[in-house]
């Protein structure tokens, strides 16, 4: 693989991720609406929302400091960086050596951290409330992510994403070990929490007092809101891609040729649609947990992750 081509691939997958993220969220919303017997907004609605926000002025609280202004760029920037580090359609990728799974996870959490700060920064009650709740959840979700990924890393002997994928691809028998299933279940629950989906947070609510993610960003408007929402949609796409590619890597391109890349892109989009449908179905079936029950669910996912690590050590 020539350098030019692999850098082209990196840029290509970044642009693709950013371009598809609003559509993916729109698809989940549309599917949910259909499942609830509603017509729903078309799946491309989030693109229109982005265009609207980008055209609008920013209104800022007089209490807000530089944190409030810097946060949208930090959140968006860290998310864009992650799109370069996660193999989406091909493996291995040029930036595999730049950052491993832990870097990916903590780059995403960096965004969460700054969002929480910005929530406090504007000095409104809702922002502080959202920030406090988000941190409560992140405090349990964070170790779970690290732990469930360790389950996979132990199996392949590396935390390098490309390495894990290659191991799974070359030795499919390893992919159906108990530790993979346990880690998948743990990570799936955490992804719901991290991306603000039901039953942890309700992305469709207008009730400020129940919000988590939305409460933190209530003060944002205009292009800042566009950046934050775009980043959070991209984060959703990245987490789903991680779930899809880490546990079911088949279909990914191992050679960089046009036909294999086209096929791999199709396979990736297919997996995303499948996961998005699963989430839409889940969100239609469940109700939101009482806030104080959320830690119980997350503890469950932590236990699953712990079991994943244990079983991968025992069965190694």
């Amino acid at each position: 693989m020539t350098n030019m081509m692999s850098y082209g691939l990196e840029i290509g997958q970044m642009l693709l991720a950013l371009a598809l993220a609003p559509g993916l969220v729109g698809l989940v919303r549309w599917l949910k609406a259909r499942l609830q017997n509603r017509l729903g907004a078309p799946p491309w609605q989030p693109y229109l929302e982005l265009r609207k926000w980008l055209a609008k002025d920013v209104v800022m609280s007089t209490n807000a400091s530089w944190i409030f202004q810097a946060t949208p760029y930090i959140v968006f920037g860290s998310t864009v960086t992650v799109t370069l580090l996660v193999p989406l359609i091909a493996t291995p990728i040029a930036f595999d050596a730049v950052g491993d799974l832990l870097v990916v996870v903590y780059l995403l959490l960096l965004g969460t951290f700054f969002l929480a700060l910005a929530g406090l920064d504007a000095g409104t009650a809702f922002g502080g409330m959202g920030a406090s709740r988000e941190m409560t959840i992140a405090a349990i979700a964070e170790p779970t992510i690290a732990l469930s990924i360790s389950g996979l890393a132990i199996g392949s002997g590396s935390t390098n994403l490309g390495q894990i994928l290659t191991t799974t691809l070359t030795d499919p028998a390893a992919a159906i070990s108990p530790s993979h299933f346990l880690a998948f279940a743990a990570l799936f629950i955490v992804v719901l929490a991290e991306t603000g989906r039901l039953p942890i947070d309700n992305p469709a609510t207008h009730l400020e007092l129940t919000m988590i993610h939305e409460a933190m960003i209530l003060e944002y408007s205009g292009r800042y809101l566009a950046l934050i929402e775009w980043a959070s949609w991209t984060k959703f796409l990245l987490f789903l891609s991680l779930l899809a590619n880490l546990f079911v890597p088949w279909g990914m391109a191992t050679l960089v040729t046009l036909p294999t890349l086209a096929l791999a892109t199709a396979a990736w989009i297919g997996k995303l649609i499948l996961l998005a449908s699963a989430i839409a179905l889940l969100e239609t079936r469940v109700a939101k947990l009482r806030l104080f029950r959320v830690p119980e669910l997350l503890s469950l996912s932590f236990v699953l992750a712990l079991l994943a690590v244990t079983s991968s050590l025992v069965l190694k």
Binding site: Q36, L198, L207, L209, F292
Partner: protein, 527 residues
């Protein structure tokens, strides 16, 4: 058995020197004038010894013909389904009344309302902060006095409301509103919380005083029906019926049998669409949006039925003075339509309650204890979910309810689940009631009678169990037969403070769910 003459004897014996013009009207109403200093002894006698409830306080400006203000106290007496009306004359130059706040929490609220709208001070009231009054009104502006003209400019200086502050480490306040996300009316909620736990919530309402009671004044009784329909948009029939019943009681006329049954049908249809929408909205606040979408679909079917019945989706124009306005359309099988709708609703309820995530959110949330529910004089499903077995349709039948059979669901737990269940069971009873009414409904016959002339300055009232609870309209006409004073009590008026009590020790994210289970009217309280 204790009856109205016993009550009369008791009151005469205890308070004879302070009482004048005592008479019994309409069989079960005891009316009299009382001296101002005897209000407290009267309340002690009625409230504490004879088991009466203060239902309504109405102030009236009679300075132009009698040179005084008047305050009417209306007590309801449960044992023989009677009422006591006591009227106090208050000198125009000394507008004060002895406060009953320590005897009755509803009285405490009525007195604050009267203080703000008439400038009559309750003496000895422990908390006479403004209720209706916001800082836009100047201190000497009392909108319901007869000489008050509409406000042309508002006072610009914003005076902060004296919220009670809770001090302590880790305790902070969350101000919410008055402007909210979503299409609801303005109301400010001040939460005092410790972490996520609510220690105290104070609702500051009355941001949109519309002068509804003032608008009634000077209208012909027949013109008031449309206004009554618009007091609270979702309670068109309830308010129109209470208003019409008050004037019919005043005139002494009897509504035709056919109209009585139609009134039952309209009132129950209103209960149906509101309760069904509420079930969906409660489910939606737990994040279970599917139930919401389906309940909204059913609500829409019901609104279209309403339109076929009365020409209006909210049943406006269905109730008229002296009767009802629309017979059932001949090509509509209402009973069968309602069977289909009920089966549909029952399915959704089953799906909802089979979802343990949903029921987990409802059980134990927002508990209102029976004692508190009783103290605050709560009404409707809020009361019935907290062990208060009260329903005007059964206890003091109006329209055709004495001819129909139905159950009144009562729960003891007082949580969101109980309030939801009361609605679900009432939906089923409402369908049964409508179907019975259709069975009994005569094909022909008069729909309405013309009201005979109305006696001037005689008070009368109408009491109706609307979908939210008991509604009272109090009317008085002048010598020209025009409305002199109309007082409206929507159940929300007494249920609002109970919401604050139900929230204590709940967590902040459960507030919307509790609030939805109460589903109180802003407009019905803020007249």
């Amino acid at each position: 058995m204790f009856d109205i003459s016993d009550l009369q004897t008791h009151i005469e014996k205890g308070l004879h020197s302070w009482i004048a013009e005592m008479q019994i009207r309409r069989g079960n109403e005891l009316h009299f004038q009382i001296e101002r200093e005897a209000v407290v002894p009267l309340t002690q006698l009625l409230h504490s010894e004879l088991g009466g409830e203060l239902m309504l306080m109405v102030a009236d400006d009679r300075r132009s013909d009698r040179g005084q203000f008047e305050v009417h106290y209306l007590f309801a007496h449960d044992s023989f389904k009677g009422f006591v009306r006591a009227t106090v004359g208050i000198p125009a130059l000394d507008p004060t009344i002895p406060s009953l706040a320590t005897y009755s929490l509803p009285a405490a609220r009525f007195e604050r309302e009267i203080q703000d709208l008439f400038g009559i001070q309750p003496v000895g009231h422990p908390d006479c902060r403004p209720l209706v009054r916001h800082s836009a009104w100047s201190a000497d502006y009392f909108p319901l006095r007869k000489d008050a003209s509409p406000l042309t400019e508002s006072a610009t200086e914003e005076v902060p409301f004296p919220f009670k502050e809770v001090m302590g480490e880790g305790i902070y306040e969350i101000p919410v509103g008055p402007v909210h996300a979503g299409i609801i009316e303005p109301g400010h909620f001040r939460f005092t919380v410790e972490g996520e736990t609510i220690l105290k919530m104070k609702a500051r309402l009355y941001y949109t005083h519309k002068g509804t009671e003032k608008l009634f004044e000077g209208k012909l009784p027949i013109e008031g029906v449309e206004l009554a329909e618009r007091i609270s948009g979702d309670t068109t029939v309830g308010h129109a019926l209470a208003y019409c019943q008050a004037l019919e009681a005043l005139s002494g006329c009897e509504v035709p049998e056919r109209a009585k049954l139609l009134r039952v049908i309209f009132l129950e249809l209103e209960r149906l669409y509101n309760h069904i929408a509420d079930f969906g909205a409660i489910a939606n606040d737990t994040g279970f949006a599917a139930a919401h979408a389906h309940c909204f679909r059913i609500r829409e079917q019901l609104l279209r039925l309403n339109k076929r019945l009365t020409g209006n989706r909210l049943l406006r124009g269905g109730i008229v003075l002296g009767g009802a306005n629309h017979a059932l359309p001949p090509n509509l099988d209402l009973a069968a339509e309602l069977d289909t709708i009920l089966a549909d609703f029952n399915d959704i309820v089953e799906i909802g309650f089979n979802n343990t995530l949903l029921t987990d959110r409802l059980h134990g949330t927002g508990q209102l204890s029976p004692q508190v529910a009783d103290d605050y004089g709560t009404l409707g499903y809020v009361a019935r979910a907290s062990g208060q077995d009260r329903d005007v349709r059964r206890d003091r039948p109006f329209a055709a309810y004495q001819d129909l059979s139905f159950q009144v669901p009562v729960f003891e737990t007082g949580d969101v689940y109980a309030r939801t269940m009361v609605r679900v069971l009432e939906v089923r009873e409402s369908v049964r009631l409508i179907q019975q009414a259709i069975e009994l409904l005569p094909e022909t016959g008069a729909l309405a009678v013309t009201l005979p002339s109305l006696p001037a300055f005689e008070p009368a009232f109408g009491l109706v169990e609307g979908w939210r609870g008991a509604i009272v309209h109090w009317v008085m006409v002048d010598h020209q037969g025009k409305l002199h004073r109309v007082k409206v009590k929507d159940p929300s008026f007494v249920n609002w403070p109970a919401l604050s009590k139900a929230l204590v020790n709940n967590i902040v994210p459960d507030f919307p769910l509790c609030n939805k289970s109460f589903n109180l009217s802003y407009s019905g309280a803020d007249l």
